[in-house]
């Protein structure tokens, strides 16, 4: 195991809040504002960490475990995702299933913590979160399965390495369709705009934000940081499929993947600026559509 394999998690840990900054800056520019500095999310996290936490008397240990286990799952997941041609520290056959499982675990503890507060709003958010992710997960799984089938590998690192060996034109449309499906999953799972509006604070329409209303101080910082990591990890899956970089091209590959991440963040900001949030009833349709794209990619990979 080479020491460079420790770099992908470190890069994810250091730069993930920066993505949020880029998204917010893009949105500000679209709205004609100067916008907060790019490193504002870091300051927000530090500010939250310095505050004290308030716990409702109705909550139990489930509520306190939520942010900690959630962030722990994200940290573990960050050790699984390769970045820019650098292999991940943990790479084994079937690690994509573990990745999906860790994302599901983080979601499970967040939902539990939300239900533990006994607030009706948070229960509503939890119900929506679970409903939408039940639809987003097949899209994620089928997309990853189509890539595994296309490349004949069942490990994320091997899949990306094999994708970069076949340039786009040769491997056909399956990676493109799977990448589009994963991009929709990326927006949905990170509570981004066609599905959820991260800026709104009207409980009736929120999904993710409403579940974490009762968390304060350091707990909230852990949740925010976990969300930033999730954004980074799912984003690097999308970028890894669209801009596959082979192993061994370390500095240039990392730069390319980093540029891809910034581009993805800018694109997310543009989407958030030009699109309205979908009606809640339409969201399942979008996610099932993503699932249909994924299954089409799988079909193409099989033929």
């Amino acid at each position: 195991m080479s020491p460079t394999c420790l770099l992908p998690p470190v890069i994810a840990l250091v730069f993930s809040p920066l993505l949020l900054g880029v998204i917010n800056r893009t949105k500000a520019r679209f709205a004609g504002r100067a916008g907060a500095p790019l490193h504002q999310p870091y300051h927000d996290l530090l500010k939250l960490l310095r505050k004290g936490a308030v716990y409702s008397r109705t909550t139990t240990w489930l509520f306190r475990a939520g942010p900690v286990v959630g962030l722990g799952a994200m940290l573990a997941a960050s050790a699984l995702v390769p970045f820019g041609g650098l292999g991940a520290p943990l790479a084994f056959e079937g690690d994509l299933l573990v990745l999906a499982g860790l994302l599901a675990l983080a979601r499970f503890v967040t939902v539990n913590a939300a239900l533990d507060t006994g607030s009706s709003f948070e229960g509503m958010g939890a119900s929506r979160e679970v409903q939408f992710s039940a639809l987003a997960e097949p899209a994620l799984f089928l997309g990853l399965a189509s890539m595994a089938r296309e490349t004949g590998a069942v490990s994320l690192g091997a899949i990306f390495a094999s994708l970069s060996a076949h340039p786009w034109a040769e491997s056909g449309l399956a990676p493109l369709l799977a990448a589009v499906a994963l991009a929709i999953v990326f927006l949905a799972e990170n509570a981004r705009i066609p599905v959820d509006d991260p800026n709104t604070h009207l409980e009736l329409t929120m999904i993710h934000e409403v579940m974490v209303l009762d968390h304060s101080g350091p707990d909230f910082a852990l949740i925010q940081y976990g969300a930033a990591l999730k954004l980074w990890l799912l984003g690097s899956l999308v970028v890894g499929m669209l801009l596959p970089v082979g192993p061994g091209s370390a500095p240039a590959g990392v730069a390319l993947a980093g540029g891809g991440m910034i581009a993805l963040a800018v694109l997310t900001g543009v989407v958030e600026s030009v699109m309205a949030r979908l009606r809640l009833l339409r969201v399942p349709q979008l996610l099932v559509g993503a699932g249909a794209l994924s299954s089409l990619a799988l079909v193409l990979a099989f033929v």
Partner: protein, 238 residues
């Protein structure tokens, strides 16, 4: 495999999914039109050896008809009948997409088992053509508005056309032109019929047209005083 052809096939499938998922008739009309244009390019790419005048004529004819004339006729019918969206289909949109995914799987299965007279140039053509057929039939049975059903008919025809291009490249020109003409006349007549139906009944929901029979019975039942009203209705129907 030829990447251009594969792109067209995937595009056909995506257009089908749009037709299944969208409640807006304009979006559906555009998707079907795009499908028609993509199908027009199809024989041009499939005949990479000889671009004869016959192939060019066919491609141009089907593109003009399906890409320009049909959408215009249908949009006009939609505007005249004042329908913008399918309100309550028999099968919801999310379920329709799920059906689409299932139909794709069934189409692949059948495509892999169907004995073909000759090898096709891509293993995907027959499944995609079958899938388009299934989607067309499904739209016809699952939507209420007459206009959506016409769209389903067009999708069905696109599937048949794709099947024909995949298998019978040597089909006589006369047959292909005849099919195009049939479809043209059908869409033309249906467009006019939709306009008249909507003018007469203020809606084009086909499931509510079963009340037509009751309406005539009611009109006849009183017998005496309503003859004038009956004549007026008869005039409006022309």
């Amino acid at each position: 495999m030829n990447l251009g052809l594969e792109t067209i096939l995937v595009f056909l499938v995506l257009a089908n999914i749009v037709v299944l998922a969208s409640s807006r008739l304009t979006a559906c009309i555009r998707a079907v039109a795009a499908q028609g244009i993509a199908l027009g390019i199809f024989p041009l790419l499939a005949h990479d050896a000889a671009l004869t005048a016959r192939v060019l004529l066919l491609a141009a004819g089907s593109m003009v008809l399906k890409g320009i004339v049909f959408p215009m006729l249908l949009s006009r019918a939609a505007r005249d009948a004042e329908v913008r969206r399918e309100m309550e289909p028999f099968v919801g949109y999310t379920l329709s997409i799920v059906f689409g995914a299932a139909a794709l799987a069934v189409a692949l299965w059948i495509g892999s088992r169907l004995p073909l007279p000759r090898a096709t140039w891509s293993p995907l053509v027959v499944p995609v053509a079958l899938f388009t057929l299934f989607v067309g039939l499904f739209i016809i049975v699952s939507r209420k508005k007459a206009l959506s059903q016409v769209l389903g008919y067009l999708v069905l025809e696109n599937g048949i056309y794709a099947f024909g291009v995949a298998l019978a490249l040597e089909e006589p020109l006369l047959v292909e032109l005849g099919v195009l003409l049939d479809v043209f006349v059908a869409v033309f007549v249906m467009g006019i019929a939709i306009f008249h139906i909507s003018r007469e009944f203020d809606h084009i929901d086909t499931d509510r047209m079963t009340t037509l029979r009751d309406w005539t019975r009611r009109r006849r039942a009183p017998g005496t005083a309503l003859s004038g009203k009956g004549e007026a209705a008869g005039e409006g129907g022309k």
